[in-house]
């Protein structure tokens, strides 16, 4: 056993850890948690208001100006409702499940860089300590996000199972199958980013994207560096991972009543609701970090009255990008109809995973070519040809497989005379 615990690459935690370091870390945790809670409150209002606008109705209007306090009113109402635990439920697991949803949502947010001046490696100086504006920068970096999204499956799965009722169980089996399937595509999209960054740390990813861009105006964001495909894959897989529309067949009301949280009421239901929106915000923040340079951006005014505010511009850019992404999530929800279950699985396994994998190999080939001094154009053309050939093969395989299945099903229908067959 090694004597020291390396928990983060944060320069503040590299040396001796005294009172100031502990207080600063605690302050970061509290600020991040408070931010997430307030953001969830505003996000629910924002989503309802925006959906209302897109549906040509008003959305919340009564509580507070523009109905902005609606979430607070709803939360208070849920808090004072009767808390029911179904008779046939597994009581302990039933009570545990909401927390298993909520905690991973917050933990994944800890690795998101929230601000800082990334023209200066994103470091800020507070009370003589150099640190990052993010709760933690663990050595496994982005893997923590993947780990948390795989742990989050438990909340959904156990909630459905422990309810001791049919529809929640069906909903939770659907949900966990969906989340497990799309995690693979999510991981492959992340792998492309890790490849171009050369490391797992989210802070390093932002530093790499803050470097000099193309032609002086186009930023060096990973969405451009990795050629858009990983971003599209990540966006689709992320939406499916969040169980948001158009992938919300987990709680398809027409089929499953309310999905895995049908039996939940009062504050436990509120926790699931909170986790859902917290996950949306965390996912958007992760997308901003991975693909849109996180808090990296120009510093317009570096000082006000002798106080350095360069780090605050990072916060501003981060929030602007986060806001745009959250808008996109609501926009998709308002626009796209829900997928069917087999379409969902087809999209995940037969489209997203092969595309993400192929694109990852393409990026690797480019990287190797650059190292070996091969002509970039030749590498690109050959890789794209191979890519196209593989895609063609895959499409043919899927099509012929479907053809065989259909003809077999037709023949089975024709021939199967159940009574005769058994005899």
């Amino acid at each position: 056993m090694s004597g020291t615990l390396v928990l983060a690459a944060d320069p503040m935690l590299a040396g001796d850890i005294g009172l100031v370091e502990v207080v600063l870390t605690l302050a970061k945790v509290v600020v991040a948690f408070a931010f997430l809670l307030v953001a969830v409150m505003l996000m629910i209002w924002f989503e309802r208001k925006l959906l209302g606008g897109m549906h040509q109705r008003f959305g919340p209007t009564i509580a507070g100006p523009f109905g902005i306090l609606q979430t607070l009113a709803d939360g208070t109402k849920l808090f004072f409702k009767e808390d029911l635990v179904p008779d046939r439920s597994d009581r302990f697991v039933f009570k545990l499940a909401p927390y298993l949803s909520l905690i991973p949502a917050f933990l994944a947010f800890a690795i998101v860089p929230l601000g800082g001046d990334f023209n200066n490696a994103g470091q800020v100086e507070w009370w003589g300590r150099t640190t990052y504006l993010q709760v933690a920068d663990p050595p496994i970096g982005i893997l923590l996000f993947l780990a948390m999204s795989s742990v989050a499956v438990y909340g959904v799965m156990l909630a459905g199972w422990s309810s001791g009722s049919k529809y929640p169980l069906l909903g939770s089996v659907r949900a966990s199958a969906q989340m497990v399937s799309y995690e693979a595509a999510l991981g492959l999209a992340v792998a492309s980013i890790v490849l171009v960054t050369g490391g797992l740390s989210t802070h390093d990813m932002v530093v790499a994207q803050a470097a000099e861009g193309y032609f002086g105006i186009i930023p060096r964001w990973n969405v451009i560096v990795t050629g858009l495909v990983p971003f599209i894959v990540f966006m689709i897989a992320g939406t499916a991972e969040l169980n948001r529309p158009p992938f919300d067949l987990v709680e398809a009301e027409q089929e499953l009543v309310g999905g895995f949280h049908t039996e939940y009421s009062s504050i436990r239901f509120a926790l699931f609701f909170l986790a859902e929106f917290m996950n949306t915000i965390t996912m958007s923040a992760i997308i901003v970090t991975l693909f849109f340079g996180g808090p990296a951006g120009p510093v317009l005014v570096s000082e006000v009255g002798g106080v350095g505010i360069a780090w605050a511009w990072g916060v501003v850019w981060f929030f602007l990008k986060l806001f745009v992404l959250l808008f996109c999530f609501v926009w998709m929800r308002a626009t796209l109809p829900r997928f069917r279950y087999d379409q969902l699985m087809d999209l995940g396994w037969k489209a997203l995973i092969p595309v993400a994998l192929g694109w990852f190999l393409f990026l690797t080939a480019l990287d190797v070519g650059r190292e070996q001094g091969w002509s970039e154009a030749a590498v690109t053309v050959v890789s794209l040809l191979v890519f196209a050939g593989a895609a063609l093969l895959l499409v043919r395989a899927v099509r012929s497989g479907r053809g065989i299945r259909d003809s077999e099903a037709a023949r089975a229908d024709e021939q199967s005379d159940p009574v005769e067959d058994r005899a």
Binding site: T4, I140, A147, V151, M157, V173, R411, D421
Partner: protein, 188 residues
């Protein structure tokens, strides 16, 4: 600090391990297994094996136990088990003997140090993780240089397993209308 973390996670791991064996409900047993796996992940972090810790959570807790839960839920065996019937004759005494042997081996290792049994003092030898490179970097280098063949063969094995599973579960109907699975059963 390190000792405190070790003691706490050891307690978590052991409670989980006992829980897996002792709980009557299979879903509870699977949850105790998750507890043990996460505890082991903490021990990996304690030993600077951050990547292993992440993989432990992603693969074991995130995929394998989820698969267990799936099977438990879909087969509907999530009821308390009947423990009085012995499925295989002589299973219990044999388990006791093997368990005692395992305790003896582990006891020897703990008391005398690892080299008595294997001759090795520390796993990994000169590849131990005390350089500048992160564990993921070293692991990648070793896997794709020294153990490249092992990696490729494992990959081939996994592919074979997947294809085999698909073939075994796929019901292709023959001309006489029976499925291949039924035909195999009839022939044997």
């Amino acid at each position: 600090m390190a000792e405190a973390v070790f003691v706490v996670s050891a307690v978590i791991i052991l409670v989980g391990a006992v829980g897996v064996v002792a709980s009557r409900n299979p879903v509870h047993a699977a949850l105790f297994l998750v507890q043990t796996l996460v505890g082991v992940a903490v021990l990996f972090v304690l030993n600077d094996a951050h990547f292993l810790a992440a993989v432990q959570v992603v693969v074991y807790a995130g995929a394998i136990v989820i698969l267990f839960l799936f099977v438990i839920m879909l087969l509907g065996v999530d009821k308390a088990e009947e423990l009085r019937i012995e499925p295989i004759f002589g299973q219990r005494p044999l388990a006791a003997v093997v368990g005692a042997a395992l305790v003896a081996v582990l006891g020897t290792v703990v008391i005398t140090g690892a080299d008595v049994l294997t001759g090795l003092r520390r796993a990994g030898g000169d590849r131990a993780l005390d350089g500048d490179a992160t564990d993921i970097e070293r692991m990648g280098r070793v896997l794709f240089s020294e153990f490249a063949f092992a990696v490729e063969i494992t990959a081939a094995l996994l592919t074979v397993a997947v294809v085999g599973a698909v073939i075994l579960t796929r019901r292709t109907s023959r001309s006489d209308g029976s499925t291949s699975a039924e035909t195999t059963v009839r022939e044997t």
